[in-house]
Symmetry: C2
Subunit: 194 residues, 2 copies
DNA sequence: GCATACTTGAAACGATTGTTTCAAGTATGC
DNA sequence: GCATACTTGAAACAATCGTTTCAAGTATGC
């Protein structure tokens, strides 16, 4: 009978492929250099993944999983937003994570120009985080509208800071900015503005 | 004697090319489709611009100029940050400007993965805006460090919000978020945090 | 150990890439 | 109107792309 066709070898390959793409980027990705870098051949990559396009889908899925692992370590339901956000920034601003966010922003940029191809990426890239972040605000008494707006501010801020960090790597300046930003947000209360 | 070799025809071409790239993106740009779209030929594009790479440099320069024109209309030295930032958001969040920011974010993502090729883009993409934005804060009595941090917050916020807007086009939610954000920043004073 | 599948290498395919060659076309200066 | 330079079209170039073909290799089930 048939033995399992894929499984382990495929997973090992995918892991090394994600490393390569994280380092080299998505836009210029080509099968032959990729295959050589991961110790394989174009023929084998297509055998296991079907096509370049399907391979990219798997790479992005895997990269998304790596990104989500980062946040899984965060303390849920801490005493305050201040504490949670500081912890979150400490985690995502770790230089070891730069590659994954570089890939994230590259994918994001490509997705905005080719919405059909990256439809899955785009549909979750904001919405998933809003859902995730508005919940604590709702518990704190914010209206649904303001809870989503507050979540929007947080998503925008983190992404803006990370974009800056990937660009300049000027941790001191950006850390200070994040501190000011958190402090400012802390002044907001569930009553909202006039 | 020689008549001027380039000048007008070249400028007309470049203008149409920028329109095309703004609509179709940079990553998949190819000379033959581009030439057809702007009513020209690959031969002519290379004649006027030398190479695809030089053409892209000019496109990005021109796109950057278009982006800067947007901010030139803003009221300088208004009564308060609140007013200035609201006006700035109104300008950049105009749906007519989406294309230019889509191209901006695509370029940004590509630049992060190919720093050498986009060195000029990267060197200005944060620094120019910090220089521009920290000045008013310095006049308001902020320390140099905090003025730069505050400018960092503003750059990050605007970019995060614009990224969201390009993705979801959910103006109502994001407008509300910008309002909350401006209000929060307004609570900060030149004394800084503890 | 035979048969059956899974796995892989080598090579070629057709398409597309940026760019070059070469020649014809076109407008200008005198 | 001749000469000169700028401009352009058609075609070919070499390189690279994702993918396919075909055959040999390898491990497994019985």
């Amino acid at each position: 009978m048939a033995r399992l066709p894929d499984a382990r070898r495929r997973a090992e390959l995918l892991d090394r492929i994600v490393d390569y793409v994280t380092a080299k980027g998505l836009a210029e990705l080509s099968l032959r250099p990729l295959a050589e870098a991961v110790g394989s051949s174009p023929r084998v990559l297509l055998y296991y993944f079907g096509s370049k396009e399907e391979l990219i889908v798997e790479v992005l899925t895997q990269a998304g999983a790596r990104q989500r692992e980062l946040f899984a370590k965060l303390p849920r339901d801490a005493e305050s937003y201040r504490v949670t956000m500081r912890a979150a920034w400490a985690v995502v601003s770790d230089p070891k994570q730069e590659g994954i966010f570089r890939l994230f922003f590259e994918t994001y940029g490509l997705a905005l120009q080719d919405r059909k191809r990256f439809a899955r990426f785009l549909s979750g890239v904001v919405e998933n985080w809003l859902d995730y972040l508005e919940k604590p605000a709702l518990r704190d008494g914010y209206s649904r509208r303001d809870a989503r707006a507050l979540a929007t501010v947080m998503v925008a801020g983190f992404r803006g800071f990370l974009l800056d960090l990937c660009t300049t790597r000027d941790r001191k300046r950006i850390d200070r900015a994040v501190e000011l930003w958190i402090e400012a947000l802390d002044s907001l209360g569930p009553s909202g503005s006039p």
